[in-house]
């Protein structure tokens, strides 16, 4: 599925927080959006999902396979979210409903969009639990979110996002709240599922090392503007813009590098 964002501008009153942002995600591409706090990366994903707060005003264009999403009534957006666009957020504890079972939430998009009967949804929940490698899927679907670890909850979030086989997956800092070994497992899961489903991916993060693990292309945001875009490889090796160079230098100065000769 193709995403085309053109001249997207987001304002809170007089304050412009995203400024004439233009980028494209071709079918099957994996774009990472990186930037520091306040750069506008999360607002951009919310705009694509039609989930901006009421105070925000968005202009420009957000097209999914050519269809304009910006300005669509909520009723129509609700039919797109979860079905054609799947979303995964940072904290699965707040995005999951504590009162409903894992199975119910895995299959929710299918029920919501009328894609499965109650019985089919149960079978689908099992399939999704296995797909995201929850341990003992038959038991897992009967548990409640608080009975899972943080990594397992994020697996549920990813399973639910992929339930209706969306053509575009949006992930906003999906591993930031996780321990490093769990983060690695969840990133591997992303990598595998995006490859298997062929979905296009937009992955928002502040961490270039995490981005490099799942994305092939990168868009650098600063103060609501696109400062640079290109392949991850090229951008890390030869950043063209000062902001990107500072970001890459800081990432190199703070992230760990194995000693020479280490894998």
């Amino acid at each position: 599925m193709t995403l085309d964002v053109t001249e997207l501008t987001i304002r809170f009153g007089d304050r412009v927080v995203v400024d004439r942002l233009t980028f494209s995600v071709p079918d099957g591409a994996r774009l990472g959006i990186v930037g520091e706090s306040g750069s506008g990366k999360s607002l951009t994903t919310l705009a694509v999902l039609g989930l901006l707060p009421d105070r925000a005003e968005a202009t420009g264009s957000v097209r999914l396979d050519g269809e304009e999403l910006l300005g669509l009534p909520e009723r129509r957006l609700a039919r797109i979210r979860g079905r054609r666009i799947g979303a995964v957020f940072q904290d699965p504890l707040t995005s999951l409903d504590p009162l409903r079972t894992v199975g119910d939430q895995l299959a929710e998009p299918l029920r919501l969009h009328g894609l499965a009967s109650r019985r089919e949804a149960r079978a689908e929940a099992l399939r999704l639990a296995a797909l995201v490698r929850l341990p003992e899927p038959e038991q897992a679907v009967r548990l409640y979110p608080h009975q899972l670890s943080g990594g397992q909850r994020q697996r549920v979030g990813i399973g639910a996002a992929l339930a209706a086989s969306p053509g575009l997956l949006l992930a906003d800092e999906p591993t930031t709240a996780l321990d490093v070994t769990i983060q690695a497992e969840v990133l591997d899961l992303f990598d595998r599922l995006v490859a298997e489903t062929g979905a296009s991916l937009v992955f928002v993060t502040h961490d270039l090392a995490v981005l490099a693990r799942v994305c092939t292309d990168v868009l650098v945001l600063a103060d609501g503007r696109a400062v640079e875009t290109g392949s991850v490889e090229r951008l890390l090796a030869a950043p063209q813009h000062l902001v990107t160079a500072a970001l890459v230098a800081a990432a190199r100065a703070t992230s760990w590098t194995p000693a020479e000769g280490e894998a």
Partner: protein, 259 residues
């Protein structure tokens, strides 16, 4: 010289009953930890959530009492319980937490926030001058004393938190994930600041973190914890180059790195 000597630290937490008349289950947060921290070194304690690293640090700071075992700070036993009994330890230690926006009081000026430990511990001298010196130490203009936290960026707030932690001249600075809430360019600055404080002030630093980058760039020595026990420790460079314990290996393999 050994600044902190911990021996046989055990910390059990009694959990709520799971059955009406059953026994209360016990969770072993620490299972017999021995640790020496040498004066002037920077020690990193790494491990995942629930590995016991924060519990260990709380015991070292006298913020919590062990179920068994002892902690000595500069040879003196740490006996948590009364405020009076640990006042000397408060004065010898400073703490920086993860999120500067929740650790600073929004209603207090930066100056008052930084002066708080001076007042609480009855430190003699010109507090205003000490606050100004603290601000300079962390690379902020002394004029920042008149500002409020909401007027600062995330990096400036974390600098203020560090200034507050060192203003009373502690011998030990403890950081619990001090970089993890910060943007990457700010991280690089605060990391450099920690290095400079160690060099200029001879501070002993204990960092609790799962950030291998921070560990690699700042720590002299690393302690790896898993399930309430120390599973490996050693000099940073040697351990990162040749981890021995399977858990340390898994941690290193999992850490994201820049290609």
């Amino acid at each position: 010289m050994t600044l902190i000597e911990a021996r046989g630290l055990v910390r059990d937490h009694r959990m709520p009953r799971t059955a009406l008349l059953g026994p209360r289950p016990v969770r072993h947060a620490l299972r017999g930890v021995d640790l020496d921290v040498v004066e002037g070194e920077t020690l990193a304690i790494i491990g995942e959530s629930g590995s016991g690293k924060s519990t260990l640090v709380r015991l070292l700071l006298g913020l919590d009492a062990p179920t068994a075992g002892t902690v000595r700070f500069d040879g003196r036993p740490v006996e948590p319980g009364s405020a009076a009994g640990t006042r000397w330890l408060r004065r010898a230690t400073g703490v920086v937490l993860q999120d500067p926006s929740s650790s600073l009081d929004p209603r207090m000026t930066v100056g008052r926030t930084i002066a708080e430990p001076l007042r609480a511990q009855g430190v003699d001298g010109d507090h205003r001058a000490l606050v100004a010196a603290g601000l300079r130490d962390v690379g902020l203009d002394p004029a920042f004393a008149a500002r409020y936290p909401h007027e600062l960026s995330g990096g400036q707030r974390q600098r203020v938190a560090i200034a507050r932690a060192i203003v009373h001249g502690p011998r030990l600075l403890v950081g619990d994930e001090p970089l993890s809430a910060l943007d990457v360019t700010v991280r690089a600055q605060v990391l450099e600041l920690l290095r400079r404080l160690r060099a200029d002030r001879g501070l002993t630093i204990v960092l609790v973190s799962h950030d291998l980058g921070l560990v690699q760039h700042v720590a002299d020595r690393v302690v790896v914890m898993q399930e309430g026990a120390i599973v490996e420790q050693g000099a940073t460079a040697a351990m990162l180059a040749a981890p021995q314990h399977p858990y340390t290996r898994a941690l290193l393999a999992a850490a994201p790195r820049l290609p």
